[in-house]
Symmetry: C2
Subunit: 427 residues, 2 copies
C-alpha cells in the first residue's frame, strides 16, 4: 500500500465542515468587533525576528517561534502573536492615523509547542486593540468586547468569565514586600506559572530564583487576597465602567492573573472556564510602551487575543458549538445523457443568472442516484430534463423536501425556482 503524505504535526486541515465552523466563529468575532466600532486590519504572517526580540518575552521568541533565515539570509519569524506587528504598523504611520485606533483581526499564527488538546502549532487568533487612549474606561471597553462575545455565543458567566488584575498594583505590593525592581519581571513569570505547578514545587522554584522565604510567603498571601483591587483607583474605575457597559456578571478580580508577556504594564485579564478544565480562552492587557519599543513615539494601548482552538473546546463542552450548514448549492441540475450535457449546463446558467446557487451533476447517471446525491448534499431542489421533458421543450423541478415535482417551460424555470428559493412560504 502506498503511504499518503502526512500533514505537518500541529497543523489542521479545514475540510468544508471545519471551515464552515471557522467562518461561523469569524462572523461572531466580526459582529462584536464592529458593534464597538473596531475596523478590520491585518499584518503580514512573516516578520523579522528583531520585532519580537524587543518585547514579546523570552519564552515566546527563543522557545516557541518558528524562525529561519530566508534565501537572502534575513532572520524571519512566522508570527507567534500580532501585537508587535500592530505596534510596527502604527509606528510607521504615526501622525497620519487618526487616534484612537480601534482595530481587530483574525488570522493564522504559529508556535512550536507540543501539540495537545487545545493546542496546535498553527492556530488562528482574534486580536482586538485600542491604541492611543490611557484610561481604566478604555481597559473596560476591551473587557466588554470580550465579555459580549462570550454572551453572544451563548456562554454564561457561570461557565466562562474574565479574571482581572493590574500589574501596577502588583508591583506596588511587591515593592512593599521588599522585592527589588529588577526581580519583578521574574516574579510576574513566577506568578504566571503558579497554576501549572504544585504548591510545594512552586515554593522550591521560587526559592531557586533567589527570593527570600518571607517574600515567597508574602507573595503567596498576595495571591489569595480577593479584595486587593480596592487599593487600586485604576481598578475601581475599571469595575465601574464594566458595570456601565453591562458586563459586570462576566468580570471578576483575581489576584493570581498577571499574564506571561513582558510588555504589559497595567490592567490585564484572561477568560477561563470556571471548572479550570482548559487553558485561558483569551487574554490581554495594557501596554504603554510598545509603539515606542519598535521605533515610534510612546503611544499607550490595550489589546487582547483569543485563539480558535480552546474556544471551540469550551463551546463544545457547554453544547454551544453550532453545526453550520455546509450545503453547496440550492439547486442541483441533473444530467440525463452524454449527448445532452450542454442542455443541462445551459439550464444551470439560466438559474445562476438570477442569483441561484447551482450545482451541476457533471455526468449522466441514473436519476435516483443523482437525487440521492442532492439529498445527501443538503440540496433541496433538483432540475430534471429527461427525454419526456426534452420532447415537450420543458423541464421538471423536483422539491426533495415535499417530493412534489412540477413541469414547466424552460423559459419559466429561472423565475419559478427563484420564487421558491427566495420565499420558502411560496413553495
Amino acid at each position: 500500500m502506498k503511504t499518503i503524505i502526512s500533514p505537518v504535526k500541529g497543523t489542521r486541515d479545514f475540510y468544508p465542515e471545519a471551515m464552515a465552523l471557522r467562518q461561523w466563529l469569524y462572523g461572531e468575532l466580526a459582529r462584536v468587533s464592529r458593534s464597538f466600532g473596531y475596523q478590520e486590519y491585518e499584518g503580514p504572517c512573516l516578520e523579522s525576528l528583531a520585532l519580537y526580540e524587543a518585547k514579546s518575552g523570552e519564552e515566546l521568541v527563543k522557545e516557541q517561534a518558528f524562525c529561519f533565515a530566508d534565501r537572502g539570509g534575513d532572520q524571519i519569524a512566522l508570527r507567534p502573536e500580532l501585537t508587535p506587528s500592530l505596534a510596527r504598523m502604527v509606528a510607521a504611520r504615526q501622525g497620519q492615523l487618526p487616534l484612537p485606533i480601534r482595530w481587530w483581526s483574525f488570522g493564522p499564527f504559529w508556535r512550536y509547542e507540543r501539540p495537545q488538546k487545545g493546542r496546535t502549532r498553527e492556530f488562528f487568533q482574534w486580536n482586538v486593540d485600542l491604541v492611543g487612549v490611557e484610561s481604566p474606561e478604555a481597559d473596560a471597553e476591551l473587557a466588554a468586547v470580550a465579555a459580549t462575545f462570550l454572551r453572544n455565543v451563548g456562554l454564561m458567566p457561570s461557565q466562562v468569565y474574565l479574571q482581572v488584575n493590574n500589574r501596577r498594583l502588583v508591583e506596588t505590593e511587591l515593592a512593599r514586600l521588599g522585592v527589588a525592581s529588577e526581580q519583578r519581571g521574574m516574579v510576574f513569570r513566577l506568578i504566571d506559572r503558579r497554576d501549572k505547578m504544585r504548591a510545594s514545587e512552586w515554593d522550591a522554584y521560587a526559592a531557586e530564583q533567589g527570593l527570600s522565604a518571607s517574600s515567597i510567603r508574602g507573595i503567596a498571601l498576595l495571591l489569595e487576597d480577593k479584595e486587593l483591587w480596592k487599593k487600586s483607583e485604576e481598578l475601581q474605575s475599571f469595575f465601574g465602567a464594566v458595570k456601565a457597559l453591562g458586563v459586570e456578571e462576566y468580570v471578576e478580580y483575581d489576584p493570581t492573573i498577571v499574564r506571561g508577556l513582558d510588555y504589559y504594564t497595567g490592567t490585564v485579564f484572561e477568560a477561563r472556564d470556571r471548572d479550570g478544565e482548559f487553558r485561558a480562552v483569551l487574554g490581554g492587557g495594557r501596554y504603554d510602551n510598545l509603539v515606542g519599543d519598535v521605533g515610534g513615539d510612546r503611544l499607550p494601548g490595550f489589546g487582547f487575543a483569543m485563539g480558535d482552538v480552546v474556544i471551540q473546546l469550551v463551546l463544545a463542552k457547554f453544547g454551544r458549538l453550532p453545526t453550520p450548514r455546509t450545503a453547496s448549492a440550492q439547486v442541483l441540475v441533473t444530467t440525463f445523457a452524454a449527448s445532452e450535457l450542454n442542455t443541462s449546463l445551459d439550464l444551470a446558467r439560466r438559474l445562476r443568472e438570477v442569483g441561484i446557487l447551482v450545482e451541476w451533476y457533471p455526468k449522466p447517471d441514473r436519476l435516483p442516484k443523482q437525487l440521492k446525491y442532492a439529498d445527501q448534499a443538503g440540496i433541496r431542489f433538483a432540475v430534471i430534463c429527461g427525454p419526456d421533458e426534452m420532447a415537450r421543450s420543458s423541464v421538471s423541478l423536483k422539491d426533495l423536501a415535499t417530493r412534489e415535482q412540477i413541469e414547466m417551460k424552460v423559459e419559466d424555470l429561472a423565475v419559478e425556482v427563484r420564487r421558491r428559493v427566495l420565499d420558502p412560504l411560496m413553495a
Copy 2:
C-alpha cells in the same frame, strides 16, 4: 531619530482601507464560487517539503519556496501553492468524501521571488478545484467560474480574457515533429518562457536544450496556429460547453499557453489583459494524477488559482477597483466630562443592545473636535449628553449629514437611533 523596525521585504501591511479591499475581493470570490456550488475549505500554511517535491515543478520548489527545518528537524515549506495540499486532503479521506469534490478557498501563500509590480513574496490566492470528474464540460465549468468572476467585477472581454490550450494536443503535435517523449516536459517549460524572451534569445535557448533546428522551426509554427484546437475533440467539446455556460466572449484558443507547473495533463488556461501589460491574472488546468502522486488512488481534477496582486492592478487600470466603505461605526457617543465617562458608556451599551455599531469617544474633549472626528471617520450620527441634557435626563442626537439635532429622553434613544440607522428614508 529612532529607526522603526521594517516589515519583511515582499510582505504587505493591510491597514483598514487595504483590508476592506481584500474583503471586497473575498466577497466577490465567495459569491461566484458559491453560485457554481463550490464549498469553502482551507489547507495548512505549513506543509512538508516532500509534498511539493512530488509534482510542483523544480523552479517552484528549489528556487521559490520558503523552506526551513523546524525545531524538531523536519523539512517544512511555507506553501507556495494549494493544489498539492488539496490532493493530500482528498487522498486522506478517499472513499469517504462524496464525489465530485467542488472546493474553493482564499488564503496566504509565499514565494521567494524578486518583489516588483504585481509580485510580492507573501500574497493571497483564490483556488477553485473540481475533483473526480474527467470531461471537457468539467474543464469548461472552471473556465466559466473564472470568466463569471471577471464579468462580475466589471472587466470586459475586450480588456481581460482567458487563453486556452490543451497539453495532450500539444504533445501529439510534438510527437509529430519528432520531439522525443522525454523532452516534452522541457519543451513545455520552453513554450511557457516564450513571452519572457526575445525570439532570437528563445531560438538560441531552445537549441541549447538539444532541439534540432527543424524541431524548433516546427514548434515556432505550432505556436502561431490559431486553428490547432480543431484537431482536438476535447477542445471542441470544451468550447461547446463554454458557449452553453454563456461565457464564450471571454474564452479563446491560444496555442502558446501551456502553463508552468509539471502536473498538468490536459486542458490549461490563463487569463491576461489584452494589452499584455501584466502577468497572468489567473491560471490553471487539468491534473489527472495528483491525488495518486501524494499516495492516494488516481483521481482526476481541474483547478485554477488567482493571486490578489495582479487582479488589483488590472482592476485599477480599468477603473474597476472599488473604494470600500471603512467607516468604523454608525453612531459616535461623545464624552462630555471626566466625571461622566460611565454615562456615555451606558448610552453606548443601550445602542449596541439593539444592534447599532457604536464607537465611544474615549475621553472628554471639546464637542466640535468630537463631531469633526465623527465626520472624518464617516460616522453619520452623534449622541450628545452635555450638562443641559443631563439636567433634563435627556440626550441629543445629531445627524451630521443634515446638521439636524433633536433632544429626547434617554429611554427613547435606542429606538430612535435604530429607526434612523436601519431606515434612512425615515431620517
